[in-house]
């Protein structure tokens, strides 16, 4: 487990920026980066965070599937999030981490460049997807949060994974 900070409130008050946002409740996210973009995954959707581990490629699998991994005796499908986002391939030996999430009763491991921290942000900082956002991204983005120095795209795992499965069916 490599969650940098496990308590959202601590990190938030440390930063001291979001406590007095424009009102509304708070939501907790695990942040991660892919390329230069920061994403947030609702904390409730996170099962585990993994370091690099051996990945078995699966021949003929959809391109978005990075392979299979052994998670304590369970075999789970690893998803190449870079690929899903339409980003270029990572360098062969580039560091990566994985976030384990459950979708429709099956575990998936999302391979990302780096996992950040758990943050709690006020609903007030939430914005809808900008109209200019790429059509493809809009499919799995549940809006954007304005962070101190960054914009965080909220990742919706369901549509992302369903999209791969639907594509695999063709």
């Amino acid at each position: 487990m490599t969650i940098v900070r496990t308590s959202g409130t601590a990190s938030v008050t440390d930063k001291g920026i979001l406590t007095d946002g424009p009102g509304g409740g708070r939501r907790e996210f695990l942040t991660f980066t892919v390329g230069r973009q920061t994403f947030g995954l609702p904390l409730g959707a996170v099962d585990d965070v993994l370091d690099e581990r051996p990945l078995t490629p699966v021949p003929l699998a959809p391109a978005e599937v990075a392979g299979s991994i052994n998670l304590r005796g369970r075999i789970i499908t690893a998803i190449d999030v870079r690929r899903c986002l339409g980003m270029p391939k990572a360098a062969p030996n580039a560091a990566h981490m994985s976030i384990v999430t459950e979708h429709d009763g099956e575990l998936f491991s999302l391979v990302v460049d780096a996992v950040g921290e758990v943050i709690a942000v006020s609903e007030g900082f939430h914005e809808d997807n900008p109209v200019t956002l790429d059509e493809h991204w809009r499919g799995f983005s549940a809006g954007i949060y304005r962070l101190e120095s960054d914009l965080m795209v909220v990742l919706e795992v369901g549509p992302l994974l369903d999209g791969i499965e639907a594509a695999a069916g063709n």
């Binding site: 051996p54 078995t56 490629p57 699966v58 021949p59 003929l60 699998a61 959809p62 978005e64 599937v65 392979g67 299979s68 991994i69 052994n70 005796g73 075999i75 789970i76 499908t77 429709d104 099956e106 998936f108 994974l161 791969i164 499965e165 695999a168 069916g169």
Partner: protein, 881 residues
């Protein structure tokens, strides 16, 4: 619920489970006092205990049943189908009461007055009959349309059903589950004395745990192999062995004999025969074959439905059977057996078979296909329509099988568990359904192989042998039409390269397309058995065998047809489990497609044709179109015999004549002799050659020369002059040598005494005419050739009669359509059936051809199907081929 009641319920449902079978047996052997005794005892016990437990309703029902049974004891003649039906009704009522008791612990409000009255009436009638000394059945059997026991199944050993029932009669524990399951639909009753009911979830979690244990053990094994671990070794050995035993034991808890799914069938068939007035015997074999219980649950209903179907639609009424010269008693046979990791269940009846005409009508009526579409299908394809949704052949919906469940539901249920269902049917002879289902054991032994740096598991059950292919070794990979094959003990084994199949990227990614043996690289061929076929899988390395726990593949990967699951190896790595069935299914059609794409012979001279280039006799290159060669064989020369001055060899249990290209050819003295096998129907001829030079795809531009000498002409292939040999010549020669010079004399289909069927073959390519005409001659036709439509019409105008016409479509001048229209435009040939033989059979072409008057269509690449189609067409036109 009180313990005493619970115990009683357990016992009662256990014995009730056996009653159906026993009653059916009793009906067959009314004077078997032992069977009657068993049945009687069950009723008696239930009645007695009810009094004690204060269950008055149940007591009354059981009592009434017991009374009727006791009249049977005094007079076996009273065991009529009606009486047995009454007892069965009584059993059902008792079962329902017990089911309700299990759920609520109290007797339900139910009215059994009618049943009890019926039972009492039967007792009174029986007693009256017995008193009058009449031992004949109380009622006329025909009244109910059912056979009287006396003549019930005289020609059939009465113990057949009984034996079947006995062999599949489940052991008490299973019967118990069975009965309880029926008595309390949707409710897990807690009824058992011999067995403990275990929640399926508990069982599944145990299996998962054992699976993990096996994995951990394997991991340790791996470690132990690398170390000399001294004193720990003994303990480890034991742990390992116990783990294996535990695993086997736990797996067994999921297995049940397939017979448990059959237990109800004798009763169902019996009821059906009473209801329909048919005589039906049910034979059941192999009920002890075991299956995973989940799978068993899934096939129970489909099986029942198929048996119902057979009894209702398949087996004819007695009069019809008698009129058809069949025994009055129809037989439904259930067979179960294991075959290569699968269980096969056959449901066969000797009834009327499927009525193609009626199926066709139904298909059209239901709008599933148009009549024109159906014309293009084989009979088998039409029969398969009964598996389509929205299809039912029963003309009247009977109470028996008209339940809104069709064969489509049966098929989808079978397919849900990874099974396959097929049917064969012969008019007047019967119908057989074959269901093939996997055993899906969660733990299997698997062979671990490596390819392009990745590892894969192959279920050991499919692996027949491993062949090591080294550069200069005994085994060599050869190419047939770009498809690699391996000669293995005189058989050609089709090969599939795992690397190519799975598109495994690696430095050697070029794969085997250019000829696997050229690189001189070492590799292994895993010979896998798929059904009755063998398939060789080319892999780089072979590791160990390991016990693996089959886990389902992730949702996103399920569409890949080559994997049946995934697993974790002893070292913790994840690997995919290959599915040889999926590989064969996918690899097979791919090759077929490839050969279909192969341009048809001489259809436009710029087309490419696959040719086998070889040498024989002299040094000249010779070639023969791939499509005409059945196989390339290596014949052991010591097996060659000389008969009548010619050489023959045993080939697939037939004698195959061996012929040589030229007199200058000399057969090898020892070792293997390469032989090109040409086949036509059952007959084969082997052409001995010195060596196979190559297989090439070349544009074929033939300079024809006078035929007859075995050569069609010569062509430039790969820049070299090559003789094209005339297969027909050798086929004829092979048989002329062996059958007294009478070409086609051995044809089992051709009747020598009859006049031969005269066939007009129309094509604009002289090469093609010369290619096809000998084959057709050998098949017993008198062939008249016409080079194009105009020439054919000239024959027509000259007053020549023909029986059937086979014509190309694309021809310069008068094309096939115009020719067909001309033929059907009145005149002597207007009734002659026409078959189109074309390399471009698009739907449009077919449609146009049909309206022009062609009856059938055969793609040129599938010229081998022509004879079959001809036979069919001629049969429909009332002529024998």
């Amino acid at each position: 619920m009180d313990d005493l009641l619970q115990e009683f319920l357990a016992e009662a449902s256990e014995s009730l489970g056996l009653l159906d079978g026993e009653l059916v047996r009793l009906e067959d052997t009314p004077d078997d006092s032992e069977i009657l005794g068993n049945i009687f005892r069950v009723f008696h016990t239930i009645k007695g205990t009810c009094g004690f437990l204060n269950l008055p309703r149940l007591e009354k029902v059981a009592h009434a049943g017991e009374d009727l049974l006791s009249t049977f004891r005094d007079n076996a003649g009273l065991v009529t189908p009606e009486a047995v039906s009454l007892i069965l009704r009584c059993v059902d009522a008792i079962r329902a009461l017990i089911g309700a008791l299990e759920v609520s612990g109290a007797e339900p409000e139910a009215d059994h007055a009618a049943l009890i009255a019926d039972l009492k009436a039967a007792v009174a009638a029986g007693e009256a009959r017995s008193r009058s000394g009449n031992t004949e059945p109380a009622s006329e059997p025909d009244a109910g349309g059912a056979p009287a026991p006396a003549d019930a199944q005289p020609e059939v050993g009465p113990s057949k059903v009984a034996a079947g029932a006995a062999s599949t009669a489940p052991d008490p524990a299973k019967a118990d589950r069975e009965a309880a399951g029926e008595a309390t639909p949707g409710h897990e009753g807690a009824t058992s004395s011999m067995t403990i009911r275990v929640n399926v979830e508990v069982l599944e979690s145990l299996i998962t745990l054992v699976s993990e244990l096996v994995l951990t053990r394997n991991q340790l094994l791996q470690l132990a192999r690398n170390k000399d671990n001294g004193p720990a070794a003994d303990g480890f050995q034991r742990l390992s062995r116990i783990t294996t035993e535990l695993q086997e034991g736990v797996m067994k808890t999921r297995m049940q004999p397939v017979g448990t799914a059959w237990a109800k069938l004798p009763r169902i068939v019996r009821d059906l025969s009473v209801e329909t007035g048919k005589k039906i015997e049910l034979k059941m074999n192999g009920g002890e074959a075991e299956l995973d219980r989940q799978i068993l649950e899934m096939i129970r209903d489909p099986l029942t439905h198929m048996v119902r179907n057979s009894a209702d639609h398949g087996i004819e009424p007695r009069e019809v059977r008698r009129a058809a010269g069949k025994p009055e008693t129809g037989t439904i046979t259930l067979n179960a057996f294991h075959e290569g990791g699968h269980i096969i269940i056959e449901i066969a009846d000797d009834g009327r078979g499927l009525d193609i005409a009626r199926i066709r009508d139904k298909i059209v009526e239901r709008g599933l296909a148009t009549a024109a579409e159906l014309d293009r299908l084989t009979e088998q394809q039409i029969r398969d329509f009964i598996f389509r949704a929205g299809f039912s052949t029963a003309e009247t919906v009977t109470s028996v099988s008209g339940r809104g469940v069709g064969m489509d539901v049966v098929r989808s249920n079978v397919e849900k568990i990874g099974g396959v269902i097929e049917l064969t049917s012969e008019p007047g002879k019967g119908t057989t359904f074959t269901v093939k289902i996997p055993l899906t054991l969660a733990i299997v032994s698997a062979l671990i192989v490596g390819c392009a740096g990745q590892r894969f598991a192959i279920p050991q059950i499919c692996v027949r042998e491993l062949v090591h292919v080294a550069g200069g070794g005994a085994h060599r990979v050869q190419m047939v039409n770009n498809a690699p094959v391996l000669s293995l003990r005189n058989r050609l084994l089709p090969l599939v390269s795992l690397r190519d199949l799975l598109k495994l990227e690696a430095a050697e990614a070029a794969g085997f397309a250019g000829g696997a043996d050229k690189g001189g690289r070492d590799f292994y061929v895993v010979v896998a058995q798929i059904g009755s076929r063998l398939l060789g899988l080319i892999v780089d390395r072979v590791f160990d065998t390991e016990e693996i726990v089959v886990k389902p593949v992730g949702r996103m990967l399920r569409k890949i047809p080559f994997f049946s699951g995934t697993t974790i190896l002893g070292d913790g790595s994840v690997i995919m489990i290959l599915d040889p069935n999926g590989i064969a299914a996918t690899a097979g059609p791919a090759q077929v497609n490839r050969s279909e794409q192969t341009p048809a012979l001489a259809q436009g001279e710029d087309r490419r044709t696959s040719l086998i280039v070889f040498r024989a006799g002299d040094r000249s290159r010779k070639a023969v179109p791939m499509t005409l060669v059945e196989r390339i064989e290596n014949v052991d020369v010591s097996a060659v015999e000389t008969v009548n001055g010619g050489e023959v060899v045993q080939y697939r249990s037939h004698m195959m004549p061996l012929v040589s290209v030229s007199p200058g050819f000399s057969r090898r003295g020892e070792g293997n002799q390469p032989v090109l096998v040409f086949a036509d129907g059952k007959r084969t001829v082997g052409l001995m050659v010195d060596e196979i030079v190559d297989i090439v795809d070349a544009p074929l531009s033939v300079e024809l020369k006078g035929g007859g000498c075995g050569t069609l002409g010569s062509a430039i292939i790969d820049g070299k002059a090559t003789d094209l040999i005339d297969v027909g010549h050798y086929l004829t020669r092979g048989f002329a040598d062996w059958f007294g010079g009478e070409a086609g004399g051995a044809d089992d289909g051709a009747d020598k005494s009859q006049e031969k069927t005269r066939l007009l073959l129309v094509d604009d390519s002289a090469f093609f005419l010369r290619l096809m005409s000998p084959r057709l001659t050998i098949s017993g036709f008198e062939v008249i050739e016409a080079l194009g439509g105009e020439e054919a019409m000239a024959l027509h105008d000259r007053g020549i009669d023909v029986d059937v016409i086979v014509s190309d479509i694309e021809m310069p001048g008068m094309n096939g359509f115009a020719f067909a229209e001309a033929v059907h435009n009145g005149g002597r040939w207007s009734e002659v059936p026409m078959i189109a033989l074309s390399s471009r059979l698009t739907d449009q072409n077919r449609e146009r051809g049909r309206s022009a008057g062609f009856t059938s269509f055969v793609p040129k690449a599938r010229g081998d199907e022509l004879c079959g189609v001809l036979r069919q067409v001629l049969q429909q036109n009332g002529r024998a081929a």
